[in-house]
Symmetry: C2
Subunit: 351 residues, 2 copies
């Protein structure tokens, strides 16, 4: 790679169904230059998140990604050049820099930014290393996915002793934290996952009380066995028709948090949803959950998570791909459910 060029990944076309690596293209941009108040950041680790697929379909509140756009997203990097008084070269930061080798971001948000704008602004935040935890955790358990898990358990589901909590995508970045938090709140936790390997990881590493492989023909029977008194709290990152079978196993008064629409992300058209008859019969409540509403909890969560990790009470797993050029393939694996843990791309530059 030419040292004065900036390798990036852009959207090449809008996929009709599940995204594939050929929907992206590598592009080389001129090296960006920071203006006053800005920083040049060298990317070390990129975050891959399912919401990006929704943005590619033009249906995400973070904004639509147009064909030709460089993919947005969070990264951990170091400051290479600073034109902001609070940052110096070498500072470790997390920022929304996109799928780029180098990015220019602001040292602070404009005073006018608030709410979602403030969260989505390309602003660098200095991060403090946590003992024995890689900085990439700020993209996962110590970042947006971990906050999602914490806020939805604390503010939406509140499972407690005697409750059974079922977690979809339980080995993913959100689900793995959600299950462990629910367990620390006293609930019986059940993982709902896509393979036997993930089921084993959920039980043996993440501490779920039980795990059900949703692709097996007797998945609903397995679920009934794992949740004999029904499901009191459900976290789902999907709201496709398959959910209807799960709703049939809700306990009376169950709470359901919708955190995403995974099968929708894999389709250009909105798909029908689950039959809702059982929501009536079970007197259940289904609530939409958006992490952007809960950033006030971020510092509290980071402190709690760091203390839990120090005590061995919070585990996490990363799925690392090497090199920016691998980002499209890694993202495709994420959207096919083939990754385990937080999906990351480690750039082929010296850290």
């Amino acid at each position: 790679m030419n040292a004065d060029q900036n390798l990036c990944v852009a959207l090449a076309r809008r996929p009709e169904q599940t995204v594939s690596a050929s929907d992206f293209m590598l592009v080389s941009h001129p090296m960006p230059q920071p203006g006053p108040g800005q920083l040049l950041v060298r990317s070390h680790v990129l975050s891959l998140d399912p919401y990006m697929a929704s943005a590619i379909q033009g249906r995400h509140m973070s904004g639509a990604i147009a064909v030709g756009d460089v993919m947005p997203g969070e990264l951990v990097g170091t400051v290479a050049l600073s034109r902001h008084p609070d940052f110096a070269p070498g500072d470790l930061v997390v920022t929304r820099g996109g799928w780029r080798s180098w990015c220019v971001v602001d040292g602070q948000a404009p005073a006018s930014a608030n709410g979602l704008d403030a969260i989505l602004a390309p602003v660098a935040l200095k991060i403090s290393p946590v003992a024995n935890v890689p900085a990439s955790a700020y993209l996962g358990v110590l970042g947006m996915p971990g906050l999602t898990a914490y806020a939805l358990m604390l503010r939406c589901l509140r499972p407690g002793p005697g409750d059974t909590c079922l977690v979809f995508a339980a080995t993913g970045a959100v689900g793995s934290a959600a299950g462990q938090i629910a367990r620390h709140m006293g609930a019986h936790t059940v993982a709902y996952v896509g393979s036997r390997e993930k089921a084993r990881h959920a039980r043996e590493v993440l501490g779920f009380d039980a795990a059900v492989v949703r692709t097996e023909p007797d998945a609903l029977a397995q679920l009934a066995h794992a949740c004999p008194a029904g499901i009191d709290a459900l976290v789902t990152n999907d709201c496709g028709a398959e959910l209807g079978g799960i709703f049939g196993q809700l306990a009376r008064g169950a709470r359901v948090a919708l955190t995403g629409a995974m099968s929708q992300y894999n389709s250009a058209q909105p798909l029908p949803g689950p039959s809702l008859g059982q929501i009536i019969a079970r007197r259940a409540s289904v609530s939409g959950f958006v992490v952007f509403d809960h950033y006030d909890l971020m510092q509290r969560w980071r402190h709690l998570a760091a203390s839990w990790m120090a005590d061995g009470k919070l585990r996490f797993h990363e799925d690392r791909s090497a090199g920016l050029a691998q980002a499209p393939a890694a993202f495709t694996r994420l959207m096919r459910g083939e990754t385990m843990g937080k999906a990351l791309v480690v750039l082929d530059q010296p850290a």
Copy 2:
């Protein structure tokens, strides 16, 4: 009709799609005789309710109706013979006697009955006439449908000043009361109905602020016009795919009460539901509502409703068919959305 025979309507076959009159049959049973503690009641008015279609499909919590069974349901009648000390001939009662000219019911529930069993038990309850209100109102605005409207507004949706409340089936027995209660709670109320005649009735008689005809091609545009700041509270008796378009017009943090699954009732198979992506984006909550959980409010509601009616603040409409033999046709009209107000069958006997 032979005086010692009891004309009844039974289910002749389980419909594949929307119920039709030919799915029922008139049957003649021997005149029933009350045992100790029981009453012989002469039916005056039968209640037709959408949940019955769900019971015909075998999917209602009140129990399944088998082919050959006499249709269950509430009625208002008078005691003809009493073998219970608290009742005398001529007493006006409401009871779950079914689609029968005469029925035998208990004077009181067995001590062991509670919860749903107590509500569904065939027990006679004496009713007190309300000035200028027909006794049939105990099947509608003063009965289960009115209680449904009250409890869902009071305990589930709680619309208030500044809120916009959209009511499905707004000229029906539940919806017409729900809209008026929401208006008395200070909300802006919008009716969602199946015809222009119903829209006019909703606005001019029931006092809705606006009405949208859902069968018109520009219904969603009409809805956006009627709810410029979005829908804060939604009552729906349906949860079919059509609901997805409505969800797109929810305000942030909207509350949705599901009171029924009308399109499901008209199908032997469970149907897919609405796309739930907008529930996430709007941070909405969708809750199942079952009136059986709220019978503790019945007396309070009847007092309130009677006082509102005396003040001209609560209107209701009845759709009366004449003669037990017309019950199947009337029920079919109800399930096709062709009735307005509470659907009743007035029996061709002297009252």
